[in-house]
Structures are given as structure tokens and as C-alpha cells.
């Protein structure tokens, strides 16, 4: 199977039976050879891939892992690699379904569901990159990007304030049991706080049964809820200026809830070894035995709530809507001419955490007018008020950005809330895939500078006009001309949208284009 990130409205369309649009993918084969050395694990592999390919420039690619090294990786390890693969900006990452997959499904009581799926002999890739697992060393993603890779060796001995283990990337039984083996019979350093968040109740039960949970508690770890938790800044914000080692997949500035914190992304092995010392430690110095794949998982599906939708003769549940659940705002059609203003100018690699912060603001996601107050809060907290003032003056808001605008999480609110604030276009050097799709879904034209040097010639506050934009898009224009009325210059931007994207931009978004009229 492949799993592809998308904004909520694309999910809604898929649930309504509609098709999902993606850039035609190119496939890069990542050939794995050899076997991981002791003390290294899957997290170090994906950090190695990020070191090579970074967090931008991979739009439209699928990374497929193949080669003799694949069979040395258990399913949770493959999951770590494909989970954090999202930070490359790829459409998805995939491993073959082989004997290891079969054993995992059998251990889950689902062997009958296994289907073999491997590349044909002689199948080709658009590009191939080889990773020798036996040459992997422990790595870290340094502040503030998952692509900013350094070796653990180079950071050895640095004092650490906080260590958090868990998240969707590294919270499997294998991961947490490995941590318990490092901590067994010992205690974490005095002046470091250590938190553990297991992936699921099943994992907690397994760790309770084999004594790992007791080891972790006695070693001084705080046991956290099985949730996204610290990754999204929902809790456990570190102290001012802290160095925090975490096993999750995103270390964007401020995401932890503490703007001055320096978050490094590491493997569970590096985290555990460093927790004991209170400093960065190379986990290869005293490695523990590999955790074998369980022969059987104790299945606990009690927390599944199944369908209760109304159907003939059966009453469904009544939909419950608390006061924070607001109306979904509708977009307005694109005007014939765009009379706009550069409401903000931002640099490179602006993430959806910059645009639409999580943490303490996360609870407002069901309430667009409220959540919109926090658009760009980490960058420019006056953005919301300025946009509404511009909107009241009859001006369309335009966001001007550098390279790789919209990295990171798929949260569509990073497009939906700007739409609500009257943003009608983004003009950037380049835009990441999911965010590009979300902008189109909410009627915001994702335009790119034809000449990146024009970025330096625009400033926040410049009045930007695109006369005849609607007609140009209707004709499928590859480029349109923007008039900078303040600087008295013009520059070209790239459009080149598909017929489907044009329809959505002109209508004011997907809901405006398709919702039944009430």
C-alpha cells in the first residue's frame, strides 16, 4: 500500500468517492545493502537519506526501498523510515511486501491478509541512490530542520536538558523495549527530564508484561500518554534555551512550544544512551542486543468505535457540535482583476508550523475565524489584523515567499485560514506539494517567480496588481504579468495550472466549486 499526505478537503472528497490528484510521480530507488551495525537503527537510515536529499526539491517523487538490505529491517524499522520520509517532501515512500511483512502480519493474527508485492526483475527507477547500512553511524537532525543533519560524534559531550522518546516515528515495541534495555538497572542523569510516549495501548501492555515499563519508571522516566503529544507542542515544552533530544520527525523552530529551544531529532538508541549521561552519547559505545520481532502481538482492538450512520430502519448517532465547532467558510470566485497588496514577505523553507502554529493554538482547528487570528503568529503576529484591514480596503492579500514555501505538516488550515483572511495569491520561488494542493483547494493561486531574482525587488506593503488574471487563467496561461504599483515595475510569475486546478482557483476553492447549493 502507499500512504499519501493530503489536506482535509482532499480527504473529504476521497470519502465522497472522488479521485485524488497528484503530480505524476517519478520513482527513486533507494538501494539498501549490508546490515545496520549495533547501536544504529532505522532512524539513522532516514536521517542519512535526508542528509543526501534534504527537505526540498523532492516534490513529485516516490522513494522506493529495495535491495538485499531490505530483509534485514523489521516492519517497525521500515515504518520509521517511511514515516519520516514525509519530511523529504516526497509524495510517499514504500517498501516491498516480503517474508518479513508476512511474519509481522502473522504475529498480528492477519497472515491471510498478506500479499507479496516486490519489484519485477528488471524493473527500473528514474534514479537510484545506494545506502550501505553497514556504514551507517548515529545521526541527528539539528535545529531547526529535519534535513539539517549532523553526526552524533560531532555533538558528543554536549549537555542535554530534555530527552523525549516516542511519536509516530519511533514509539513501537521495538523502539521502547530497546530504550528499556539501555536503561535497565540504571537511572537517568540527575539534571535531565526524560519522557516516554508509547505508540499505543498494545505497546504499553507488552512493555508491562515483559518488565520494561518497571525499568523505565525506576530509571526516572516520565510516562506520557500514547499520543502525538510533545511533537506537536501539546505538552512538555522545554525550558528557555534548552537542548532537547527527541525521537520524533519535526524540529521546526517554536514547534515544541518554546521558541528558544534547540530540538535535535535522534534515534531511540541515541536518546537512551544520552539520557543516562545527561549529555550527547554515541549509542555504539555500549550497545544493547537487537529486539527480536515478536512471534505474536497481544491484540487489543477495544478502542475501535464502529459505524453507526443512519441507514434504513436504523437510527444513526446524533451529531454533537460544541460551541467551538464553527461553520466551514466558503470561498468567493476570483475577481476579473487582482488588486492586491503584499501582506507579508517571508524567506525560504517557511513551514506550515510558521504559517499555522500548533501547540497551544491546536484546539482552535474546528473554528476558522478564531484560528485565523494566529496565522503567521511565530513570524509576524500583526498579520491577521493587517489582512482584515486590507480586505476592508478592498485589497486582496498576497503572500510573498522564498524557496520551499509550505514545508512540513499537511494542515490545510495553513491555506484555509489565509483564505478566510482574504489571501488570494502566493508568489514564491517554489512551493511544496501538499501545501500547493491545499492552496488550490481554497482558491489561492500558487504563483511562482519566473525569475527568482524578482523576489528581492518586492517588499511587504507593495501594491501588486494582476489585471485580467481571471481571463488569463481561463485561457490556461503559463505566465502572467504582475504590476508592482508601488515600485512602478513589472515581473512575470509562472501559472501553468491543470484544467482542474484552474477551475478550483476561479471558483474560490473546492467546496465553492462542488458543494450543493443550500
Amino acid at each position: 500500500m502507499v500512504a499519501i499526505g493530503a489536506g482535509g478537503i482532499d480527504i473529504a472528497v476521497a470519502m465522497a468517492g472522488g479521485a485524488f490528484h497528484i503530480p505524476s510521480p517519478k520513482v527513486r530507488g533507494i538501494r539498501l545493502v549490508g546490515k545496520l551495525p549495533k547501536g544504529c537503527s532505522a532512524k539513522d537510515v532516514i536521517l542519512k537519506v535526508l542528509e543526501k536529499f534534504g527537505t526540498k526539491g523532492n516534490v513529485g517523487w516516490i522513494f522506493e526501498y529495495f535491495g538485499p538490505g531490505v530483509k534485514t529491517l523489521d516492519v517497525p524499522s521500515r515504518a520509521t523510515i517511511t514515516n519520516m520520509g514525509a519530511e523529504l517532501g516526497v509524495t510517499t515512500s514504500v517498501f516491498p511486501s516480503d517474508a518479513v511483512t508476512r511474519q509481522f502480519l502473522a504475529a498480528q493474527g492477519r497472515e491471510a491478509d498478506w500479499v507479496e508485492l516486490v519489484a519485477d526483475k528488471g524493473a527500473s527507477y528514474d534514479d537510484v541512490f545506494e545506502v550501505d547500512l553497514s556504514k551507517i553511524e548515529p545521526l541527528m537532525a539539528a535545529p531547526h530542520s529535519p534535513g539539517n543533519i549532523v553526526t552524533v560524534r560531532s555533538m558528543k559531550g554536549r549537555k542535554v536538558n530534555q530527552i523525549l522518546i516516542g511519536s509516530c516515528t519511533n514509539s513501537s515495541y521495538r523502539d521502547i523495549r530497546t530504550v528499556a534495555l539501555y536503561l535497565e538497572g540504571r537511572h537517568v542523569a540527575d539534571d535531565v527530564e526524560v519522557g516516554i510516549a508509547c505508540g499505543s495501548r498494545q505497546v504499553v501492555n507488552m512493555l508491562a508484561a515483559d518488565g520494561s515499563l518497571a525499568i523505565l519508571v525506576q530509571a526516572g522516566c516520565r510516562i506520557l500518554e500514547n499520543a502525538c503529544g510533545f511533537c506537536i507542542g501539546a505538552h512538555m515544552s522545554p525550558r528557555t534555551g534548552a537542548i532537547s533530544l527527541r525521537t520524533n520527525n519535526r524540529n521546526f523552530e517554536g514547534r515544541s512550544g518554546t521558541k528558544s529551544a534547540q530540538v535535535y531529532l535522534v534515534s531511540p538508541e541515541t536518546a537512551a544512551a544520552s539520557a543516562l549521561a545527561g549529555k550527547v552519547v554515541d549509542p555504539r559505545e555500549a550497545p544493547v542486543a537487537a529486539v527480536p520481532a515478536p512471534k505474536a502481538f497481544p491484540i487489543d482492538d477495544e478502542m475501535f468505535l464502529y459505524r453507526k450512520t443512519a441507514r434504513k430502519g436504523v437510527r444513526g448517532t446524533e451529531i454533537v457540535r460544541g460551541p467551538n465547532i464553527a461553520q466551514v467558510p466558503a470561498g468567493a470566485p476570483l475577481p476579473a482583476d487582482l488588486a492586491g497588496i503584499a501582506a507579508i514577505k517571508v524567506g525560504d523553507k517557511i513551514t506550515t508550523d510558521h504559517i499555522m502554529p500548533a501547540g497551544a493554538r491546536l484546539k482552535y482547528r474546528s473554528n476558522v475565524p478564531e484560528y485565523a487570528k494566529y496565522v503567521f503568529e511565530p513570524v509576524d503576529s500583526a498579520f491577521h489584523d493587517r489582512c482584515l484591514a486590507n480586505k476592508a480596503d478592498g485589497l486582496a492579500n498576497v503572500i510573498v515567499a522564498g524557496e520551499s514555501y509550505g514545508q512540513g505538516s499537511s494542515r490545510e488550515h495553513a491555506a484555509l485560514c489565509p483564505m478566510y483572511l482574504g489571501v488570494r495569491a502566493v508568489i514564491a520561488k517554489s512551493i511544496e506539494r501538499i501545501h500547493n494542493a491545499n492552496l488550490v483547494n481554497f482558491g489561492i493561486a500558487p504563483l511562482r517567480f519566473a525569475d527568482p531574482a524578482d523576489y528581492d525587488r518586492v517588499d511587504a506593503g507593495d501594491k501588486l496588481s494582476i489585471p485580467g488574471l481571471r481571463a488569463a487563467l481561463e485561457k490556461g496561461a503559463e505566465r502572467v504579468t504582475v504590476e508592482n504599483l508601488t515600485k512602478k515595475t513589472t515581473f512575470e510569475v509562472l501559472a501553468g495550472f491543470s484544467p482542474r486546478q484552474i477551475k478550483l482557483i476561479l471558483a474560490g476553492g473546492l467546496l465553492a466549486a462542488t458543494a450543493p447549493k443550500k
Binding site: 500500500m1 502507499v2 489536506g7 482535509g8 478537503i9 480527504i11 473529504a12 476521497a14 470519502m15 465522497a16 468517492g17 479521485a19 485524488f20 490528484h21 497528484i22 503530480p23 505524476s24 530507488g29 516516490i62 522506493e64 529495495f66 516491498p96 508485492l117 516486490v118 519489484a119 519485477d120 524493473a123 527507477y125 500518554e225 499520543a227 502525538c228 503529544g229 506537536i232 501539546a234 468505535l305 459505524r307 450512520t309 443512519a310 448517532t317 446524533e318 451529531i319 454533537v320 457540535r321 460544541g322 467551538n324 465547532i325 466551514v328 500548533a358 491546536l362 484546539k363 482547528r365 474546528s366 476558522v368 499537511s410 494542515r411 490545510e412 488550515h413 467546496l511 462542488t514 458543494a515
Partner: protein, 84 residues
């Protein structure tokens, strides 16, 4: 001869040719949301006027807003449980 990604996509493409077009459309079997971004997905689904999900499996996973400071998170969870 196809690699794994090509095999999976080939059995799901409904529009476009990956070798020729810049964009393709694929059929989606399963959808997964989490509680922070999922409420908006379901509110938008509701506004489309489709009475029941049409894909093979739609899962709503609640594992983000678990700290629950203030009423908003628990209300979202009630909403998500009630729309199933």
C-alpha cells in the same frame, strides 16, 4: 516490468497517464484523519451532502489533542465520535 510504486499506482489510476501527463488522478481505498485536522475534514465532508462515506474504509484516529485544556478538545472528540 514495474517497480512496487508503479504496480500500486497502475491499479488505482483513474485519469491521466503517468508517462505523459503532469498530473494523474488515483482512486483512494482508505482514508485516515487525526483529531486536530480531522474535524475540518469531516465538517467539509458533511457540507458536500453525501450521506455516507463511499470509500472502503474511513478511520478517524484521536491522538493529538489529548491534553484537553479547556472544553474545545473534548467537544471535538465528541463530534468525531458522533459522525461515525
Amino acid at each position: 516490468m514495474m517497480n512496487v510504486a508503479q504496480k500500486i499506482l497502475a491499479s488505482h489510476v483513474v485519469e491521466g497517464d503517468p508517462r505523459r501527463d503532469s498530473e494523474i488522478a488515483i482512486r483512494i481505498d482508505q482514508t485516515l484523519t487525526q483529531d486536530a485536522t480531522g474535524t475540518m475534514a469531516y465538517l467539509q465532508f458533511e457540507s458536500m451532502g453525501v450521506p455516507r462515506v463511499k470509500n472502503e474504509l474511513a478511520v478517524s484516529y484521536v491522538d493529538h489533542n489529548t491534553v484537553q485544556i479547556g472544553f474545545e478538545n473534548a467537544d471535538d472528540h465528541d463530534f468525531l465520535a458522533s459522525i461515525r
